[in-house]
Amino acid sequence: MKKVYLIPLIFFILLAILLKIGLHLNPRDIPSPFIGKPAPAFDLPRLYQKDQRITSADMKGKVWVLNVFASWCVSCRAEHVVLSRFIRTHKVPTIGLNYKDYGTEEYGEDVLSWLSQLGNPYTFVAVDKEGRTGIDWGVYGVPESFVVDKKGIIRYKFTGPVTQQSVEDILVPLILKLREESAS
């Protein structure tokens, strides 16, 4: 038996092992080394007021959410309605981190239409066109959502699209609990 004809089989076995491992991973469940640590500082231009900036200091003393999104991200559309309803119902100050969006030269084109079409639920939209802040926050993929408490500590990280169930089971109880805590 010539060895060259075994190559497809070997490739397939490797792929099957990979898929087997993949089966036991939950694509949405990622432990973050950032949980319990202070949220990384950032200072980014705002989408609608390009001359103004939004910084982590602006959010001090609030329980807030950072949602990483991009107009090219299909899953972001999937979570958009759920996320918007959550932000509106519970009046959660939320920063939309627009991560490495299309057309970095004339950035904002696609994301502007994306937001006007689907609705803009965010308190502020911060433009991270190079993805530097994304790296600081340890963003693996888009979408991701971080819950930050009044002291500026990351308390929870959600990878992948937020579902209605996880809003009810995780996010709402957590937000209510964190609001009880003191800011000092």
Binding site: A16, S75, S116
Partner: protein
Amino acid sequence: MIPEVGHFALILALAVAIIQAIFPLLGVQLAKPQWIALAKPTAHVQFMLLAIAFTCLVYAFVSDDFSVKLAASHSNTQMPTIYKVSAVWGNHEGSLLLWAFVLSAWGMLVSIFSRSIPAVMLARVISVMGFVGIGFLLFMIMTSNPFERLAFPPAEGRTLNPLLQDPGLAIHPPMLYMGYVGFSVAFAFAIAAMLGSKLDAAWARWARPWTNVAWVFLTGGITLGSWWAYYELGWGGWWFWDPVENASLLPWLVGTALIHSLAVTEKRAAFKSWTVLLAIFAFSLSLLGTFLVRSGVLTSVHSFAADPKRGLFVLMFLGVVIGASLTLYAARAPKLQSTGRFELVSREVGLLVNNIALITITATVLLGTLYPLIIDALGMGKISVGPPYFNSITIPLATVLFTMMGVGLFLRWKNDSPERLIKILRIPAIMALVVAVVLPLLILPEFKWRAVLGLLLASWIAFTALLWFSGQGRSPFKKPLATWGATLAHLGMAVTITGITLTSMYSVENDVRLVANKAGYVVGDYEFKFINIENHTGKNYKAIRATVDVFQNGQPLTTLHPEKRDYGPGTMPMTEAGIDGGFTRDLFVALGEPLGDNAWSFRIYHKPFVRWIWLGGILMALGGLLAAFDGRYRRTRKIFLKDKAKRVAA
């Protein structure tokens, strides 16, 4: 009662599949003609049983039998009948049943249109399809019974995802499945040929029409899916490189390579082991697509609920089917001697380049689709791969492929001279260059090099295809259907490339604020005037609907009604765009948010030539269909029958 009949038919189908898989194959091995003869009847009975099961499930949905769990969770009394029917395959269990049903239909068709095929070969083919059938039926019966009953049936079922309540989506999955499962026929032929150690040109000739038909369905299904995403999702896009979309593109790419490679194997007895491998790949990728969609290892907007138990089953099934066939391949392929000799400049090499380009594209798309999983499995974190990767990788590879598409048609088998080729190809090359440079200058708003490249490739493919067609000598209606088919398919590709190029480069998309009955918004020659907004009730939804009048050069052109629809509690509001379609452009208006004082935000697109993307898909499918019905395949049957008659007489 009816659901139990369906369930019972399903179990019987499994029993028949086991007979179908084992007896004909053993019969060949042990030379027992009675066992071999079981192939045809079992294939027929298998089809009938699955038809009964499928009809029972459709009946449960249409008659609102909510004691069937599947109907209760995916259908309700408010839905129009057609969507009750399409809801049958809008979920995991139902779509599996459709898979198995389609597989049995292919099996029956093969057994009917098989007069030219020796009984031994047919027995092996049917048996391989029986093995695949066992896998799917076991999967259904063990982990996903579509006929499961509820002890306390609800009075009303749940609402079907409104995205799925659409005529396009009612026929899109069955078409895709016809394509996916259709590759099982080419696969079965390849395996049967390997089992019999008879990898000559004959198996390629038998497998060709079947592969073409499967490819036609897949092409149609992908085209329809892209069209559905365009007008229903309201995003104005037509391809998103979503894992589920990629899952349908991968077998299509390999299938395209297979169609071309089969031609070489049949006519020149070359690439024998390569063609077998492609047949295995095409079907394996169809199965892999099923795994990716069903198991939830990748996140996608299209996938159904994930269940690791089901994923494990599909993976084991994949392991058995693909692992066994690749092992067989490793054992048999070394014995294959490709007899046809050929030189560097020859049609064989042209088709080889085409194959390599297609396979490289397949590999990169597969890598991009699985990359998040690979990184994750290695414990290196989670990432998502977006359109920038796919676009930057596939476009250069496709450029090579498209260039070869023109050259390949004129290449001669075995040996060809570059001088002769250059002499022939000079004319279409110059014509294509002229079109690609002049057209943008004359009619397009802006000169862009990338548009020139796209148009150059498209017109190159179109001109070479037409030149080749006219150079075939005979009058158009005496040409073989295969010639018609190849020309049409190549022209279809040219049309699709034109559509993609012009839409990507020249689309205007703008978000505007319009006030009712005030000045409109102008794009080129078109003006959009917002007239009013009103409530509207449809059959299965409530909507707010805007009226937008469109004027062209001041003349009224059409009235569009973009909507926002609410399909009831627990569903997302849907955007239903107002589209005025045209041969050279689409006008597309989507309703945004209220901005107060009679003002609303609108998203307005002017998409030039977007319809050409799907028009090309239709042409390609049509071309594949014509080629599948070429007289040559019927003639071989006659010759064979004559041979047989002679032998009998002797």
